[in-house]
Amino acid sequence: MAHVSDLIAVDIEQYLHQHQHKSLLRFITCGSVDDGKSTLIGRLLYDSKMLFEDQLAAVEADSKKWGTQGGELDFALLVDGLSAEREQGITIDVAYRYFSTDRRKFIVADTPGHEQYTRNMITGASTADVAVILIDARKGVLTQTRRHSYLVNLIGIRKLVLAINKMDLMDYSEKVYRRIVDDYLDFARHIGITDVTPIPLSALKGDNMLAHSERTPWYHGPTLMAYLETVSVDAAHRPDGPLRLPVQWVNRPNLDFRGFAGTIAAGTVRVGDAIRALPSGRQSRVTRVVTADGDLAQAVAGQAVTLTLADEIDVSRGDVIAAAEAPPEVADQFECTIVWMADEPLLPGRQYLLKIGARTVVATVTEPKYKVNVNTMEHLAAKQLALNEIGVCNLALDRALPFEPYKASRELGGFILIDRMSNATVGAGMLHFALRRAHNIHPQALDVDKPARARMKGQRPGVLWFTGLSGAGKSTIANLVEKKLHALGHHTYLLDGDNVRHGLNKDLGFTEPDRVENIRRVAEVAKLMVDAGLIVLTSFISPFAAERALARSLLAPGEFVEIHVDTPLEVVEQRDAKGLYRKARRGELKNFTGIDSPYEPPAQPELRVDTLHMSPEQAADAVVERVRALGLIG
């Protein structure tokens, strides 16, 4: 083992020389606390002498206090982290552990096995080369075993160890082992997993961890450590494929140097190579591979380098420098798999930010084609994705980007979704392929355009977007404003619940996804009317900031006027002109804004109308005045 190597004491220089040439393996362990997962990791740390006396002393003390091994050394306590979790006896996040042997340095992602933590497992697995799936020999292949295998396969881990643990509790029975292996391989074949190495173990007693156990004379495969030390890690880094370098940062210290910095995702780059920058498609040649340790003749996948090119072509952060003869595809619509990681569901039609490589774009997701039951692999119909759900969806981006299918490249095919309001990472996804229809819709250039139509009406078109709680006075004020604009000779149209909910949107209810779709349609209709030259007034609760932002983004700058009709919940609830709040409080109306569905007030509306201190007439005057100040009317 690494640190007991005699060389350390005898010839440290020689030892260090050997250790400069170690490789790195990242793996993930999947299973629940009950399967002995923490024990297995604790044992690997212990046996590779990665523990120090004070850590051991702490674990001994902890074992007496919290341990589950009757005062014996509880390896599991070595790997549990935060104090709150320790008291609950469960691991609730991804933790990373480190150990090394003579051959390799290892990074272990330790993730929990509970159903609600799919997100953690996907996170831990996304950087792993190998997965160790733990099975309790007493229980055999369980639902969670299938779930873990499905997830690691989904995230693209091709090499699996089936660690059949607690063999000591089954008298090291070969029959038990064989039955579990057969069961598992049946299932694995079914979902397309081919590279499985089963190993009978006792993490607690140390059987087949480092050395072959005398108690399993019938087992002739590798020990767990032997497997981890020798399994090939090169496949994941694709040094042989065509060059792919996502540009992270343009290095421009002075006018004479312009370098493109990034980590090579695949392939090899040599001085003189012909390259193509994407999405622009412009070509050039590599003139230098620059590093602080001197220029290189070539560099391979995994290295962080800076390239200079022969021609002054436009390359910026997020572009991909690729082999000229084999560039990746460029597209703006895809089919993909999404793993949802936030408490708020994924809403089709809502805009999210999508980060892939070094590029961030705006993305909308369609209604899922299906979601996957991770326990049975069944495909189920779905309108949205909730926390820890996995679904296949189409994706539309606001601009085209270079990509590769996730199966071919984690770097050019894996992405995260970011909520535009909270900035949280809410989902992860994997691109499958580009949708062709994106290429077939060419915008028809029209001779009569928006300015022409607006000129004929003698006005500047725009949208007055009224938002606020039910009963705040939106429609009353909007009506008065429309009357005043009409009197001033403007061509207007008022969209509200009455004329939209009964026609265009009569298929929609009041669930969160339906509300998002309702507002999306209103925004699109308003946009068409603005295109027709009208001043449009919309009167909808429109509770979510994201949809109001979408409506704003559909229009030209200056055309969208957000008006927050701000009446406190206590007041509208007290007025309750239609009796709706009382119904909602009694539970007869579901998803009622302000009661059991949120209202996100605008942070910076063009106008806030305080109805407590203004009559509807005064409020309407204030709106007209503001619209005039913004230059929409004369």
Partner: protein
Amino acid sequence: MTLTHLQRLEAESIHIMREVVAECERPVMLYSIGKDSSTMLHIARKAFYPSPIPFPLLHIDSTWEFREMYELREKVARHYGVDIIVHLNPEAVAQGINPFDHGSQIHTDLWRTQGLKQALDSHGFDAAFGGGRRDEEKSRAKERIFSFRTAQHRWDPKNQRPELWSLYNARKHRGESIRAFPISNWTELDVWQYIMLEQIPIVPLYLARPRPVVERDGTLIMVDDQRMRLQPGEVPLMRHIRFRTLGCYPLSGAVESQADTLPKVIQEMLLARTSERQGRLIDHDQAASMEKKKQEGYF
């Protein structure tokens, strides 16, 4: 060609630093003058070469560092051609906060924790690189590489973003900030090996030399200057010692050692039986103390 583990770790660290610089407005690198900071600084030069390092260093000074640390700080500024901002908490200066009168907890909180918050706020830094490693301590094992802090600099362990692949989400609201840990995946051994291979300048205190020390509660404390208060009967003795971690000298425990070269230090470490943070007195103040300090804003 298979990259070695150190090449892969270095590439990952460079990738992280470039992401922060590309996505944040005003990054800064926390520089404690220790070996982890020295490693991080060395990698920063590589990440942006041939450009100079595109952010300043920030040293949250306690006035109680070892003299050799101040010497290295000046040398490093010249060597890497980088700006070093030195921040002293004015409140701690005014009150003359020191470990003898005020104890390690108040001393560390005022100089380091409060000092760090002041410096980040007054310069408007929205991202700070730190040299934390996940192998240092149990609660660090779950720390993200991009760790989010509220406008009050608090760390909420329940509300951190998942990090997949090498995609880091650096978006934040005004006032919020990021702590980025580019050497998260390095171990103590990796750091030492890298320092040796790359010949990175470090404080000589990491190597064993005869130095004046007193022994208190089983810990060897170096008498680095006249301010060290000796207890009745205490006489500093010259002993062959070195340090595994550095901080305020009255709070840093030394180990007796003959390791006067880097290979010997690594050799001792590999054969050693005590882990790195044990020499840091602040960790022993209370159970789960690092985690608590982190929630309060300590790096």
